[in-house]
């Protein structure tokens, strides 16, 4: 299986690569549209700020490639947020796959949310074998509101979408590569998805 990890200089991709290795796969870092278009699976990682990341995607032309991908795509953390319409973080327009705005957590909770929290209302093959209330690791200050495409929710003061799916596009707010055995299973499930 050819797994492309989109390389646009955004954050901690080594952990994603190592997590794939532990599952017996190899993820190839690439910014090459031809390679990404032909991969069996595409992982869209990201940490850091939304505006800086979108700028990098536009500079490399990857903002035009990601929306036309037909194979299973998994956006992780900021990667998921960039698949949304818009983010309040730096007033950033996203790639528009998920028709939802990404907003900042209200200040009545500590920001960022950092640590282990539970996932609920699971509905996707991404969560095969995963129980309600299992723990995943999250680090974020902005969240996606619940919409029709929500496949998991998490509560941090308010209920929000901790995972989204539309057609071949999957997005998880948490870090499966850092979420222990639960995360590894979710990553493994993604690799098994056939459209």
């Amino acid at each position: 299986m050819k797994i492309a990890i989109i390389d646009y200089g955004a954050g901690n991709v080594k952990s994603v690569q190592f997590a794939l290795n532990r599952l017996g796969f190899e993820g190839i870092l690439s910014a090459d549209p031809a390679f990404i278009l032909n991969a069996d699976k595409v992982i869209f990682p990201g940490v850091g700020a939304a505006n800086a990341a979108m700028k990098k995607l536009r500079e490399s032309g990857l903002d035009q490639i990601i929306p036309i991908l037909k194979q299973p795509v998994l956006g992780i953390c900021l990667g998921m947020q960039l698949l949304c319409n818009y983010s309040e973080e730096g007033n950033t327009d996203g790639l528009g796959i998920f028709d939802v705005a990404v907003k900042k957590f209200p200040a009545d909770n500590k920001i960022p949310q950092m640590g282990w929290n539970t996932i609920h209302n699971l509905k996707s093959p991404l969560f095969d074998g995963i129980s309600e209330n299992e723990y995943v690791y999250l680090v974020h200050s902005f969240y996606a509101e619940k919409i029709e495409n929500t496949i998991a929710t998490t509560k941090y003061g308010l209920d929000y979408a901790s995972a989204l799916q539309k057609d071949n596009f999957f997005g998880v707010q948490f870090h499966p590569e850092k979420s222990g055995k639960t995360g590894e299973k979710i990553l493994g499930n993604f690799l098994k998805i056939e459209l």
Binding site: G11, N12, K14, S15, F18, A19, N21, R22, V47, G48, A49, A107, K110, I111, P112, Q113, M114, G115, W116, N117, T118, Y135, Y137, V139, H140, S141, K155, Y156, H175, E177, K178, S179, G180, K181, G183, E184
Partner: protein
Amino acid sequence: MITKRIIPCLDIKDGRTVKGVNFLDLRDAGNPVELAYAYSENGADELVFLDISATEEKRKTLADLVKEVAREINIPFTVGGGISSIQDVELLLKNGADKVSINSSAVKNPQLISDLAKTFGSQCVVVAIDAKEINGLWKVHLVGGKLPTELDLFDWANEACNLGAGEILFTSMDNDGTKNGFANDALRQLSETVNVPIIASGGAGKISDFRDAFTIGKADAALAASVFHFGEIKIRDLKKELAQNNIAIRL
């Protein structure tokens, strides 16, 4: 619900774990990778590696170590010790660290905090503060606690957060090594002063100390070294008991 985190801290010198470890069935207790893996399998929520190597050259081994740890473990980890530039951080994050912890270098050059936050995001910038209560005031100390400053703990924490720190790791030097519990009053004040997560450090001796750090001290995470390394407290037992005390914990 977000859970409170339990964080073992590993001191690293020249690529090896310094403090003895005698509870886990390890072939090589000085091997940080093996120890990190054992902790991740035994319920640790996160790990902190603190490099106390004396020389710059020896520290280079840290980057290789980080890569080996990231290869083996599937929970987040923070690396600290001697970090003073964007380049230092870039190398560690590239090798798979999730966060870095800066201490003295941030006091000497506060702009480092904002530079790191802008470049890599606040989520990976932990500002570690060692402080000691002197005449009723908590004063920041540098160089592993050896050098006192006039800086006030709460003022400095506040400034660090304004500059972009994503988390504060507060070590009470008064409590460190005493095993008499964390500095809960200072912790609570800190937690009410800044709006980022607080990691409590210094003073862990028994399970109820962790409970108090979370309930009285309002800490978001608690860090300890020797009670875990010497098996005085098993992380699974600790977490079970915290859960029985209605503290949100990942079991």
